[in-house]
């Protein structure tokens, strides 16, 4: 449909975060598996061919690890709730310096299932993050930063440019060790090579700074006092609100206003301060990423999925199937439909341009 281009990273992140929120609302294994599949499907259909776009798979594996860890924990430290005992392991009580935790005992299927569900949920959330990272290029993310974070953004960009060169440099230095008749293997070589790399990096920094400065970096229109004051005010307001909000989170006695509403106010205030701070800097963007129909579709697809989960919860569908007694998880049809909507980006997001050159260059540099 549209010409190959990179979708606005914000859209991808909205979509991914919405999916993550879905995952957090359920322990229903069926839904969670479907959710992971959906994320994977979209990633495979719309990712670029640059190194970081492979990270989804790694996140999946990380998810599996989390599940395993969770199960192992259950087996070792699980509280003994009645149920069908699968097997039981000898019970040991750790010494007091290790907090006298007792380990072992009978392991019931119910508890394992509960653990599995929780692990699966965490894995699904990780999958969402993985999807986001592999779908949008870090460079684009930096370009989308609010202007108030411009300096930090530039620093990160610089780091990005420099990192591959640092890798090359460290290899050269290790070779140089050999040229000087020292071993180029082992931790000592690594440590010794770190220093020259650092030296080079620092020299590089000075040169770079000169180049940036003489290309007009940090030339900012005088931030008008009122704007400055406004952003500071917003910051302080936001902090107070957050403080109240987090207190409300901790204490059930606190009135409901002191919970999410307070947090929301805080978040809005801080975001506002960032934007206000940004406006005081006169700087323009070269070919900024547009936010047009595909962006809307992608972000809305995520939102629809989230809404469907909320709705399913309201309709009393079993988003959290009982594990004690163990029952077959029902499949809330609404949620399933919502998740299917979340696959729309696989067709409606523009195909990314092939960046073979990028990956090769990075590979060469590395």
């Amino acid at each position: 449909m549209t010409a190959p281009r990179l979708l606005h990273p914000g859209a991808w992140w909205l979509w991914a975060v919405a999916l993550a929120a879905c995952a957090l609302r359920t322990t229903n294994p069926v839904l969670l598996c479907l959710l992971i599949a959906v994320a994977g499907w979209v990633v495979v259909s719309r990712r670029t061919d640059v190194p970081w776009s492979r990270s989804f798979a790694s996140f999946l594996r990380l998810g599996l690890i989390v599940i395993v860890v969770r199960l192992v924990f259950q087996i070792l430290f699980g509280v003994r709730i009645p149920g069908t005992t699968l097997f039981s392991i000898p019970e040991v009580t750790l010494p007091s310096w290790a907090a006298g935790v007792s380990v072992g005992g009978p392991v019931t299927l119910e508890s394992l299932m509960a653990a599995l569900y929780q692990g699966l949920r965490l894995a699904a959330v990780l999958a969402c993050f993985g999807a986001a990272t592999s779908l949008c290029s870090p460079y684009r993310m930096l370009r989308a930063l609010p202007t108030a974070l411009y300096e930090a953004g530039v620093a990160v960009t610089v780091a990005f440019t420099f990192a591959p060169q640092a890798i090359v440099a460290s290899r050269q230095v290790r070779e140089a060790r050999r040229l000087r008749g020292r071993s180029d293997h082992g931790v000592r070589a690594w440590t010794a090579s770190a220093l020259p790399v650092l030296e080079g990096a620092l020299d590089r920094a000075v040169a770079l700074a000169a180049s940036m400065d003489s290309r007009g970096y940090g030339r900012r229109g005088g931030a008008s006092v009122s704007l400055r004051r406004r952003s500071v005010g917003l910051v302080l307001l936001g902090l107070v609100a957050l403080a109240i909000g987090s207190y409300g989170l901790l204490d059930p006695g606190a009135p409901a206003v002191f919970r999410l509403p307070a947090l929301a106010v805080g978040v809005i205030a801080l975001v506002g301060s960032l934007l206000a701070g940004g406006r005081s800097i006169e700087r323009t963007r070269y070919r900024p990423d547009p936010w047009v129909k595909p962006e809307w579709i992608v972000s809305l697809a995520g939102m629809v999925a989230l809404a469907s989960f909320v709705l399913a919860g309201k309709m009393g569908d079993t988003l959290n199937p009982s594990t004690n007694p163990l029952e077959i998880p029902a499949v809330p049809i609404v949620a399933v439909v919502g998740l299917l909507v979340a696959t729309l980006p696989a067709w409606f997001a523009p195909t990314p341009p092939t960046l073979a050159t990028v990956s090769t260059s990075v590979a060469v540099a590395a």
Binding site: R178, L179, R180, G181, L208, S214, G216, R219, Y286
Partner: protein
Amino acid sequence: MIRFEHVTITYPEANAPTLVDVSFEVPEGELCLVVGVTGSGKSTLLRAVNGLVPRFSGGVLAGSVVIDGKSTADLPPRDLADVVGVVGQDPAAGFVTDYVEDELAYAMENLGVAPEIMRRRVEDILDLLGLHEIRHRPLASLSGGQQQRVAIGSVLTAGPRVLVLDEPTSALDPAAAEEVLAALTRLVHDLGITVLIAEHRLERVVQYADRIVMVPGDGRPVIVGTPAEVFGQSSVAPPVVELGRLAGWSPLPLSVRDARRLAGPLRERLAEVELSAFRRTPRVVGDVVAITDGLQASYGPVTALRGIELQFRAGEVVALMGRNGAGKSTLLNHLVGLREPASGTVRIMGAEPHRLSAHEVVRVAGLVPQDSGVLLYHDTVAAECSASDRDAGLVAGTTRSVLDQIVPDIKATAHPRDLSEGQRLGLALSIVLASEPPLLLLDEPTRGLDYGAKQRLVELLSRLAGEGHAVVIATHDVEVVAAVADRCVVLAEGEVVSDGPARDVVIHSPVFAPQVAKVLAPLPLLTVHEVELALAAVGDLPFS
């Protein structure tokens, strides 16, 4: 356009000023060449143009630097960005972003140029510098010449009237250098931009220069004038100019073309004598030190070397020439055992270097890498020397004594990274030489060296060869090759395309021929020195 008025610059922690009472003016639309020996303050002068000195380095600037009516005392560099553009020696070191287009737009983003204007200017610059095919490429994937052109473009987009370049071609091979210089001349002629450029390899740029600022260093006043005027009296000059001086031509020729026009009579006179007598006497070569047999090397998919068959004998100086990426460095790395041959063998004194322990390798082969700095990682010269003695298991002080022979008067307490290019090279070289390897390899040793330093290097290399070292230099510098090499091996795409006496290889190649050879062709003379000898024999030296 550029006006220096009684400028005296003193760095903090420096006891003497680097530049003293410099006054000159460069009118709009000129290409002005800044020459001078290393450490004479060329860079300081260039960086003072947009106020990087002293604002960035700290220190005191007495006098005033006025660019297009704006004084650097009033405005910091960033506010002069749309007046002066500065390009450094290593383009990659100045890149902020990762893609060509972003890099070009960077300056304009900072200046807050309206998006549509930005877009148009980027397109213009892409065409002007011929970068449109690579506009979407990541900077890391570009060749040196392309990178340097992007660097130039990235300052041009801000629309400066003045362009300052500090040795823009010193890191490039001849072809890439030509790319960049061609682009520069186009800028001067088409856009009337004022260009201030420092360059060691005068032979590359002299013919384009309208004016020359000669910085003699150590406090002597700068000399400003047309090339002919300046080279009449300056010590540093390209071979063609020296030849002109020797033959007493006037006006002094600045390009091979001018020189050839004037060289007719000289050629006739030299044709009378048997020139072979005045050639550098070929060295007596000993037995084979290193031998490669069907050497193949590859980085992943790309084959870097294909079936190299070479021998290096004791007492000969071999020049490895060829484009960047022709496989020169790879060959050197294999000779010193940093890489294992994909197939074929490398043998030094009968041993395969990559099988030897680092400790043993340094005794048979020594390599001074392109960036000699990577060999140095202690914080004082003294520490480097003693460490090198320890590494190679030599008696303490060996390295230092070698160093004193190569570059005398280096402070033992100096930090290696604060040394000048030449001094650093000397230090690295002495560390490698300390354990007296029979095979000595140098990768681009003349990079960033001025004529004086190059001369010293040439002498050093010939002495080492005389002592029975087999010396291999990978270089683009034809003048150095002409001066020191016995044998010349030209690589292309990982294959040996020609291997023979340096004189023959060099003379018959349009690319590698030194200026003197070009001027005097078909006469087989390579250096001014040889011409001088020949003329002496003929008996009519103009100034004898």
